[in-house]
Symmetry: C2
Subunit: 256 residues, 2 copies
């Protein structure tokens, strides 16, 4: 077993580059660091292309990625390329899931889709993906302007759900032409919408959540079948985007 | 009007200290910076003790805090004490709301309380306070181990709701003795709980949300009247703490 002790080693340089998300995305891969993140991805069957461990964590690689020869770094070199304050000495490179895939359709036709137009906060996006996985939604659809779903903060906030539910990137045009063709109800979550009441929802359904500050664009709002809002009996005039998405996701999941 | 041009001015030094939350808390005040945060607090009638503006923002002080003589700093000095990347030149010091206040009780007895045991993430706490305000809850009760509700990140995430709904800090002992005395239903949100069904909820009600990683402590769980969980038809085994708190808050608000 060779332990790399130089930061200037070409393999180390290459891995360090992938820590920059733009670089990794350009190569169609994701660099994951830390036992929790790596083990979640491995458990869900992601395609691993490289394994990087510190010299103390060779046993981890043997246990979790027995079929791949790991790149073993001295603790010092691992720390230098690590993105975390207390490196756990474990990282993997996986192939990026295909965000260009088709919008999935389930056999029973009871699909629920959450469509995010221009969600900017990685924590919100991650929380929505986690919620969508918990409530049995068919997919999370993100607009081209929504933040990168494989951003480290998003992945952490999903608590593993990023690997369990399809996340696809579509333009609003692509969404509406798909939903119209399939006859799927489209709800704009909008502060000017009608308060959601019992019996107002049906499946299949796609609901649209806008940007944290600005809400949905007028164009998208106008293309939805209906404008709805969550009844709020208190004083705050709006909810956090992830909370709004979750309340509707929860109500729709009652129909599954 | 005197413009302070030195970072070493004693007033500037004093304000700079208050940017350290520990220091401000020790003095029972909160330093708020930026137009949105300051204007929200002013609109809700918070008690202002000091106003600090950059030389360009004297007109802001005249408009929003006409009865207080502002401390006017040169833009350069304001930038030096600012906690933000692009300072807006506006800050105020307000008295900290009383977190030791009694748990409020409404006249109609239809109270909803969310009790947070050891919530660590400021974003989650802020999102829960905002949700509680939107759904008409009576108060947000935080344990002594829950993060500081007047932390800058919490305040930002509440979008002004921190000034609209009582946030009180109580030990779990204080909570249970109050709820027991008042005959208030206590729900532990717990992954081992019964799935919440229609008609399972009644008012008044207090529901307990645990720490993001560990959930509720066993002691708190055992003292609640019932253990409940949100039905999840998908694969994720749990929800973000703020999402879980919001779904229950939403269901309870239907009974208001």
């Amino acid at each position: 077993m060779q332990i790399i002790t130089s930061r200037d080693n070409p393999n180390v340089k290459r891995i360090a580059k992938l820590a920059k998300r733009d670089q990794a995305r350009a190569e169609g891969v994701i660099l994951l660091e830390g036992t929790r993140l790596c083990e979640d991805a491995l458990a869900s069957g992601q395609v691993v292309t490289e394994v990087i461990v510190s010299e103390e964590k060779v046993s981890w690689a043997k246990e979790f990625t027995p079929n791949i020869e790991p790149l073993v770094l001295s603790s010092n070199v691992f720390s230098k390329i690590s993105q975390t304050v207390n490196p756990q000495g474990v990282a993997i490179v996986i192939k990026e899931p295909d965000v260009q895939a088709d919008i999935p359709v389930s056999a029973d036709g009871k699909d629920i889709y959450v469509v995010l137009e221009n969600t900017r906060d990685p924590g919100n996006l991650g929380t929505i993906i986690r919620m969508a996985d918990a409530f049995g939604l068919s997919a999370v659809i993100v607009s081209p302007t929504t933040c990168d779903p494989f951003n480290d903060k998003v992945i952490r906030a999903t608590m593993g759900s990023i690997w369990h539910i399809p996340v696809v990137r579509k333009t609003m045009d692509e969404c509406f032409s798909f939903f119209e063709k399939k006859g799927i109800d489209t709800l704009a979550m909008h502060l000017k919408g009608n308060e959601l009441g019992a019996g107002d929802l049906k499946l299949p359904c796609a609901y649209f959540i806008g940007n944290e500050g600005d809400g949905l664009t007028d164009v998208t709002t106008s293309r939805c079948s209906r404008l709805v809002k969550i009844p709020m009996k208190g004083k705050a005039e709006s909810l956090n985007a992830a909370v709004a998405a979750s309340v509707i996701g929860y109500e729709l999941s009652k129909l599954l």
